[in-house]
């Protein structure tokens, strides 16, 4: 099972990243635990300078922008293999 973390304090963009991730997971039938990280000390552990951030299996794959469904799909599938 994958562990997916959405880094962000609840701004609109962070919610959109979470929605995209959940949608792709559902469409692809991937089993994953999605965790929202909203506290700054925890967010800063991934050494990012802008939110929203997306972490898959402890690897930061995106920060500071909203990735497309296609990109998230590729990241999730390659993390699964």
């Amino acid at each position: 099972m994958l562990t997916v973390k959405v880094l962000g304090t609840g701004c609109v963009n962070c919610k959109r990243v979470e929605q995209i991730t959940l949608r792709v997971l559902q469409n692809q039938g991937i089993d994953a635990e999605v965790i929202k990280i909203t506290e700054y000390p925890e967010i800063m552990k991934y050494n990012i300078l802008s939110t929203p951030g997306l972490v898959i299996n402890e690897k930061l794959v995106s920060s500071g922008r909203i990735p497309s469904d296609e990109e998230v799909k590729i990241w999730l599938l390659s993390a699964q293999n």
Partner: protein
């Protein structure tokens, strides 16, 4: 290699040729707005050339497509430029710079680095923890929202390049001066303690982008920004068009002109709580100026709308103690007042 199903239309593959043809259409359209607006108002609708309604409508029909076209084109170019910058790269460029030069560089990078005020806290922590001086960090944090890309485009479209240039230069000055003052005050102890205890692990992620990635992201930027502000622009121009046709010239010279000393601080106070409406405020402000409001007062108003925003102050409170927040607001407001008076005095 992962197989992905091809979407119906692969935008990425066509993004560059599509952008080239879009530019050609853009240039043609831009040159036909004025005759089209006049033709619609005076020949099709049949309003008189000297009538107030006719003047307002022609103004509206000309300004809306012009400003929206300018917004689309210029936001695309600005977004493209921004794909070459990232907060990570900016941090690397600012590392090891002394105060002074560092403040100037930070303010300049504030214009081109993609930045959303919701990221102010991670950026602040990441900057100060990597050893960038507090004052230099503030120069960046002030310049980034104050020199707003939508504001640049609207000022250029409605006032011309001189006023747009003055806006950028005064935004830079405000950011540099405020950062230098905050740096001199040695306020590191006024940063919340947890900032100094945070552990930042892992290497910094830097992306490598192809040109079609950059073009695709720029179109996304246009969609995002223009999609958000167009309605304010239309409403703003509609209000402006009404004032244009009906309010006599110089009607505002008494209250917003450069002889009224209190107009600058008042403009800042009114501007402070207005945040998301920056895009709608500028078209109105352009008309106010036409009716006698002075440039310095108008600039001060805009700077406080975009630069001193309550949401950003609330966000920054997470990492700054109340005293530093108060100093931050005070110093920036002071710098805006100075700039406002400076331009009122220059234009006298």
């Amino acid at each position: 290699m992962i197989k992905t199903d091809q979407p119906f239309f692969n935008f990425k593959r066509w993004s560059i040729p599509l952008s080239v043809s879009a530019s050609a259409i853009w240039i043609v359209a831009y040159n036909y707005i004025q005759p089209l607006a006049n033709w619609l108002t005076y020949d099709i609708i049949g309003l008189g050339e000297k009538s107030q309604l006719g003047e307002s409508l022609a103004f509206f029909l000309y300004d809306v497509p012009k400003v929206l076209l300018l917004l689309t084109g210029m936001i695309f170019l600005i977004s493209l430029l921004r794909t070459f910058f990232s907060p990570e790269r900016t941090r690397a460029l600012l590392g090891g710079k002394r105060e002074g030069l560092g403040n100037v560089l930070a303010a300049l990078l504030g214009i081109v680095t993609p930045f959303c005020s919701c990221s102010a806290v991670p950026l602040f922590i990441g900057f100060v923890r990597s050893g960038i001086p507090l004052g230099v960090t503030f120069s960046f944090l002030i310049a980034a929202p104050t020199i707003n890309e939508v504001a640049i485009v609207l000022l250029f479209g409605l006032f011309g390049w001189k006023v747009a240039g003055i806006y950028v230069v005064s935004g830079l000055s405000i950011a540099i001066i405020s950062g230098l003052i905050i740096g001199k005050l040695n306020l590191e102890s006024e940063v919340e303690g947890f900032v100094w205890q945070i552990e930042t692990a892992g290497e910094t992620r830097m992306e490598t982008l192809t040109w079609s990635d950059r073009v695709e992201r720029s179109w996304l930027g246009v969609k995002e920004i223009v999609g958000k502000v167009w309605i304010y622009v239309v409403i703003g121009i509609a209000v402006g068009a009404g004032i244009h046709g009906y309010v006599p010239e110089d009607a505002l010279a008494g209250i917003m002109g450069n002889k009224a000393w209190w107009s600058v601080p008042l403009a800042i106070l009114i501007g402070l709580p207005l945040y998301s409406n920056a895009a709608g405020v500028i078209p109105i402000v352009s008309t106010l100026m036409e009716k006698g409001a002075s440039l310095g007062t108008v600039l001060a108003f805009m700077m406080s709308v975009v630069g001193l925003s309550l949401p950003e102050i609330v966000i920054l409170r997470r990492v700054l103690k109340p005293r530093l927040i108060a100093i931050f607001i005070g110093v920036v407001a002071f710098a805006i007042v100075l700039t406002g008076y400076l331009f009122n005095w220059i234009m006298l």
